[in-house]
């Protein structure tokens, strides 16, 4: 029956029997095959926004939403502070664009930023219509707050759980669309490409341990960042750069990967994020002498300076001996006491909850110990303004993509909006692409999926002398020593060498668990492979950029060098190691200037 609907030549498959499931076999094992029109990888903010955009624009289609976790577990859930858009009379699109570009140290593409600021407000209002409980003014309008690097108050927020509320509003809204077909806890490990076009993904069904081919006319990657290449990060354990790695392995370039954002205020030890909104609402950063030390670094912005500069300022305070010493390294104080209990409970209840739980103090009465912590990857899969990559049919949006609006340093509260704006755009672009193409030939795709199944089968319970946790730890430490807030040639070289060794040792990985059902050791091994790929790209691009720009700060090249480096780095996979080239930055109306706050 299903076969008949597929047609003799396999063409026109997707729309005619979309949503069908089929089983074939290889080497005595099952290969499940599902047919959809568009395949999403990742079910966070960008992915769910894309999914809804697709079914709204193309009601006959079905979208497969393939995610290694249930969508409401996605890391968007941890975003706290807010989402930026121009909605007030005292604001303008040009101002938001300028703030974003200045924040990016002029590495963002200006045409993309202009598109972004234009569509931002529409998307936040759309989320409001979908039930997001934005905090309100007494007159019923959505409230705005200050955020770092923004010249006016333009950040919408839902107390200090904005990402959580946005994700749940999106997820709950997605439930009303039966044509969004979820593959929860399916781990995508490979893109299926035939005839120069992506036609689906191979995914491990974590529950059964079986390989699954999810076929479609277009694939949208929305898997988020890769903070877990570092040991000390705000990122959830699932942030292993999966989407970046599978695109990279499919030959698609990753862009601007040397730019890793350190958030100034994470809790020592755990790395749990204390939102920038705590400074937006008036919190102070104090050194061990009780001084608001930012007056010496960003005197005009103080606590509302951009993240890269404040993180550097904190590290300089540490180096100057003006930081506190604790069990998990040095830290400074984030002081909220003067805000008062009422304001903290109203605007920053989650901060209070987190600090009470995980530090054991009450920020109403005591300052919070904080230190810079890896937070966000500015870089990602190289896409255009529609989220399209250079591989026909492949799109990306959210943190996994570099469109790029973030350049060398992202401004706080631009990323949640980015998920929405570019999630929608990627969804619409995928619809347009899918309508103009066919389903391709199924045979080669299934062969690739079977080969991928065999690769994973060989990894499951394989003997070897290396341990996952050991390699992960060594990778983490190498990245911290070479690619931290301040970087230097010899340290980065050492990191690159260590990573190359780790890649070799990865081949000798030993796994203890040979079972199929919910084998999380196998998932961890696959994630480790992705992490090492991403780490190598970050370290190699960082080494090659001999200047300081945004979050990429080199002690040996302390200045920004526009003549040589006002350009995007791009890295492609090659068996011998990452292959690097550069593309120009699009400048429209704003000439790069000295970045001073």
């Amino acid at each position: 029956m299903r076969r008949a609907a597929a047609g003799a030549d396999g063409l026109e498959r997707a729309t005619k029997c979309a949503g069908r499931r089929d089983t074939t076999s290889f080497g005595g094992r099952a290969l499940e095959v599902s047919y959809h029109d568009i395949v999403l990888v990742g079910g966070g903010g960008a992915g769910l926004r894309a999914a809804i955009a697709v079914v709204e624009a193309w009601p006959e289609s079905t979208v497969a939403c393939v995610s290694k976790v249930y969508p409401m577990r996605s890391h968007t859930v941890s975003a706290e502070g807010g989402a930026a858009a121009v909605t007030r009379d005292d604001d303008s699109l040009d101002l938001h664009a300028y703030d974003t570009l200045k924040g990016s140290d002029f590495l963002a593409d200006q045409d993309v930023v202009e598109t972004f600021v234009e569509e931002a407000a529409r998307e936040l209002i759309q989320l409001e219509h979908w039930g997001c409980p934005w905090s309100r003014e007494p007159d019923g309008r959505v409230a705005v707050r200050w955020f770092g690097g923004m010249s006016v108050q333009r950040t919408w927020f839902a107390a200090d759980k904005t990402g959580f509320h946005m994700l749940h509003a999106l997820f709950q809204t997605s439930l009303k669309h039966d044509r969004i077909v979820r593959f929860d806890e399916f781990f995508v490990t490979k893109l299926l490409v035939d005839g120069g076009q992506v036609r689906g993904v191979a995914a491990l069904d974590i529950r059964t341990g079986e390989m699954h081919a999810v076929l479609g006319r277009a694939v949208i990657i929305c898997t988020g960042g890769a903070g877990r290449v570092f040991p000390f990060t705000t990122n959830a354990s699932i942030k292993s750069g999966d989407g970046m790695a599978i695109a990279y392995r499919a030959g698609i370039p990753l862009k601007d990967m040397e730019f890793v954002q350190y958030h100034p205020t994470g809790l020592p030890g755990t790395g749990i994020l204390i939102t920038e909104a705590s400074r937006g609402e008036g919190g102070y950063l104090l050194n061990s002498e009780g001084e608001r030390f930012l007056q010496r670094y960003v005197p005009n912005k103080m606590e509302l300076g951009p993240r890269d500069m404040i993180s550097r300022a904190i590290v300089q305070e540490m180096q100057a001996g003006r930081a506190f010493k604790g069990a998990y390294g040095e830290y400074v104080h984030l002081d909220l006491r003067h805000l008062g209990e009422k304001a903290i409970d109203k605007k920053l209840p989650f901060v209070r909850e987190l600090v009470r739980n995980y530090v054991g103090i009450d920020p109403v009465h005591e300052p919070i110990p904080v230190r810079p912590v890896v937070h966000y990857m500015m870089g990602g899969i190289d896409t255009d303004v529609m989220g399209a990559t250079e591989l026909p049919g492949l799109f990306a949006a959210g943190e996994v993509a570099a469109v790029s609006i973030n350049g060398a340093n992202r401004l706080g509260s631009n990323s949640l909006t980015e998920c929405l704006v570019f999630g929608r755009r990627a969804g619409l672009a995928a619809v347009e692409f899918s309508r103009g193409t066919d389903d391709g030939k199924e045979g080669p795709l299934l062969e690739q999926a079977k080969a991928e199944g065999a690769r994973i089968e060989a990894l499951r319970g394989k003997s070897g002398s290396e341990k996952i946790s050991q390699l992960r730890r060594e990778m983490n430490l190498a990245m911290e020593s070479g690619c931290g807030v301040y970087r230097e040639e010899s340290e980065m070289q050492a990191t690159v060498q260590t990573l190359a060794q780790l890649r070799g040792r990865f081949a000798d990985l030993g796994l203890a668990d040979s079972s199929k059902i919910f084998n999380t050791e196998l998932v961890a091994a696959l994630e480790l492979g992705h992490l090492i790929d991403v780490a190598e790209v970050v370290a190699n691009t960082a080494l090659a950029r001999k200047e300081s720009r945004g979050a990429h700060t080199r002690t040996d090249y302390p200045n920004r060098l526009d003549a040589e480096y006002l350009k995007h780095s791009r890295v492609r996979f090659a068996p011998e190691g990452p292959r690097l080239d550069y593309t120009p930055v699009t400048i429209t109306r704003w000439q790069p200037e000295e970045r001073k706050y």
Binding site: R21, E32, A64, D178, I180, V181, R182, F183
Partner: protein, 136 residues
């Protein structure tokens, strides 16, 4: 819509130690068990009404039964059970009225608390006054 495979599972189990393994469980089980005490109390009162209908001697016998040691113990148990039931019900029930009903907004929480306990005391006082023969 989900596309989910299944695998053999181990069946769902009750929480360990349910129903007496934890103070909160015990509290709830006791609360539920007061239902038996309250039902028994109702039966005793119904028997009293029946005895009243059967004449003076039956009523005297009924009073004697209730006044005997086991009868008195039963009455104390009934009193304690009723109090426990009422107090727990108030404790969990006080949050129910904190709700917007149509166009009527949710009342402020202190109002509910005061109203709840004022209601309880007023009702108790009314019953006591009735029993004491002060009113009616």
């Amino acid at each position: 819509m989900t596309s989910r495979s299944t695998t053999p599972t181990w069946p769902a189990r009750e929480p360990d130690g349910w129903w007496m393994g934890h103070p909160r469980y015990r509290n709830y089980v006791l609360f539920a068990a007061t239902g038996f005490v309250l039902s028994a109390g109702c039966v005793v009162l119904l028997l009293g009404i029946r005895a009243l209908g059967q004449g003076h001697a039956a009523w005297q016998a009924y009073l004697a039964h209730v006044g005997s040691l086991p009868g008195q113990l039963g009455c104390w148990l009934l009193l304690i059970g009723t109090l426990f039931f009422s107090l727990r019900w108030l404790w969990v029930g006080v949050k129910i009225p904190l709700v917007r009903l149509g166009i009527v907004p949710a009342p402020p929480e202190p109002v509910i608390w005061v109203a709840h306990f004022a209601g309880l005391f007023a009702l108790t006082a009314l019953v006591l006054l009735l029993l004491a023969g002060v009113i009616l």
